[in-house]
């Protein structure tokens, strides 16, 4: 039976051997349909009898308000932002992800440390340093990377309400206006995510494809993963 491990250092006061359940991550930039896929996966897994929980960036009890406030005025140093996100992640890891895994849930995670590492590197953080900061994080059972190229991403983002200040890297900024900065910022984020994808063995899906095809592929891959060790991990199945 597989046990969870972290990328480096342990988490003070947490015994990883107590954890069962599955940690499944969907990674990707904005506009690739992560939320839709997570909702569909959740329904499907619940129908199969699994207990499912979910989390995503900046949803921590501790730091989500602070991060929102800091974003409003752009009044926080860039590296401090990286660490604020790390605080938010650590709080969710300890208060959402670990309790769910301990109870044998399937934890669906809308972006994980990889997005945070990528955005930090694009903002000038040292690659090895930021990876070391996040080395307390758990290795997921699977990371699905919804990959898209920038031109297609622009279409999607415009259809979904337009450019966001932070998702366009306007705090840097990387161009004269939102459009220019968005293109350059997302190009670099995708470049970093691609590098992380090979380093951490993501399963890459082409997000420009038909949504149905991706949903089906995700459903097959996740259920195969879960079914292979059903009975040895997770909460007792509801037959």
């Amino acid at each position: 039976m597989k046990t969870f491990e972290s990328y480096g250092v342990g988490i003070p006061g947490v015994d990883l051997s107590e954890l069962s359940g599955w940690l499944v991550v969907i990674e990707g930039t904005d506009g690739v349909g992560r939320t839709t896929h997570i909702n569909r996966l959740r329904l499907q897994l619940e129908r199969m009898g699994y207990a499912v929980a979910e989390t995503g960036l900046t949803r921590s009890d501790l730091a989500s308000r602070g991060i929102r406030r800091a974003k409003q005025g752009n009044t926080l140093g860039s590296n401090a932002f990286n660490l604020f996100y790390a605080t938010d992640f650590a709080d969710r890891l300890e208060h959402q992800i670990i309790p769910a895994l301990r109870a044998g849930f399937v934890m669906l995670t809308d972006r994980y440390v990889y997005s945070l590492i990528a955005r930090a590197i694009v903002r000038g953080a040292d690659r090895e340093w930021i990876k070391q900061v996040f080395s307390f994080s758990l290795k997921p059972d699977a990371v699905f990377y919804m990959r898209i190229d920038t031109p297609e991403l622009v279409h999607r983002v415009l259809r979904n309400g337009g450019f966001d200040y932070w998702e366009s890297g306007m705090d840097l900024p990387m161009g004269e206006d939102l459009y220019d900065s968005f293109i350059e910022y997302q190009r670099r984020v995708i470049h970093e995510l691609d590098a992380l994808a090979s380093e951490y063995q993501f399963q890459t899906l082409n997000a420009s494809r038909d949504e149905e095809e991706n949903a089906e592929e995700l459903a097959v891959r996740v259920s195969t993963l879960l079914e292979t060790d059903r009975g040895t991990r997770g909460a007792p199945a509801i037959e």
Binding site: P12, G13, G77, F84, A86, W129, Q132, S135
Partner: protein, 234 residues
């Protein structure tokens, strides 16, 4: 995943950075205030930076403390976030401008407290890699009983994390505080060796300590204006 730890980033700016460390009741803040008054009187630009004071991050830290949401890991990360904001927005710009920056507590406070809470020593040293190494770091060494008398005689109620109640050392806040401070003292002793901190005997009279501080930093002062001229011409 081995990246350089704290200490790798030297102060190559024109300004000077002096910091004080020590347990509560060691008298370090009093000494730093006296030092800043003297330096201002001598005409030097002085900037003060206090532990846990970034306007944005502080609110989250207080909330985490009040609601007891903080674990050893998030306690460590939120303080690093606060410190990082001050390094970027307060300490480095002031050093660039040629100021004397005085910091009440520095990375060593985090190294001592976080490690006692069970955080990996190597990890926390790497976490603070962005911090500039100080020109001089003073450590105010004081026996536990002396510091406890100063603190416990004047303070009505110790706060949860301040007393180290999250460590489960003792159900009584005063006794927990005592044991927590004693552990911090031993960590500091290790840090004095590791980082070559300048030890001040904090049981000596206030004036004697202050004289020692001034003598220690005086040799650095003539560099200030020269540094600034060189820096501005680069």
């Amino acid at each position: 995943m081995n990246s350089p730890a704290y200490g790798a980033r030297a102060n190559y700016y024109p300004g000077l950075l002096f910091i004080v460390e020590g347990i509560d009741g060691s008298g370090k803040s009093t000494q730093l205030t006296l030092l800043s008054q003297w330096l201002r009187g001598e005409g030097y630009p002085v900037v003060f930076s206090e532990w846990n004071s970034s306007p944005i991050v502080k609110t989250t830290t207080s909330r985490g403390k009040r609601k007891r949401l903080l674990t050893p890991l998030t306690f460590s990360l939120i303080h690093a976030t606060d410190f990082s904001d001050r390094v970027e927005r307060e300490i480095i710009p002031s050093l660039k401008g040629g100021a004397i920056v005085l910091a009440d507590r520095y990375v060593y406070t985090a190294f001592a407290r976080d490690v006692i809470r069970g955080v990996d020593p190597g990890w926390v040293r790497s976490l603070y890699r962005f911090a500039v190494a100080p020109t001089l770091a003073f450590y105010f060494r004081v026996p536990l009983e002396v510091a406890l008398k100063r603190i416990l005689s004047s303070r009505p109620k110790l706060k949860w994390y301040e007393a180290g109640m999250d460590l489960g050392l003792n159900a009584d806040p005063n006794e927990s505080y005592r044991r927590f401070q004693s552990k911090i003292l031993s960590e500091y002793d290790r840090l004095v060796e590791e980082y070559n901190l300048y030890v001040v005997d904090a049981t000596r009279p206030v004036e004697a300590q202050q004289t020692l501080l001034r003598e220690a930093i005086r040799p650095y002062l003539p560099q200030l204006e020269r540094n600034l001229r060189v820096y501005e011409n680069v």
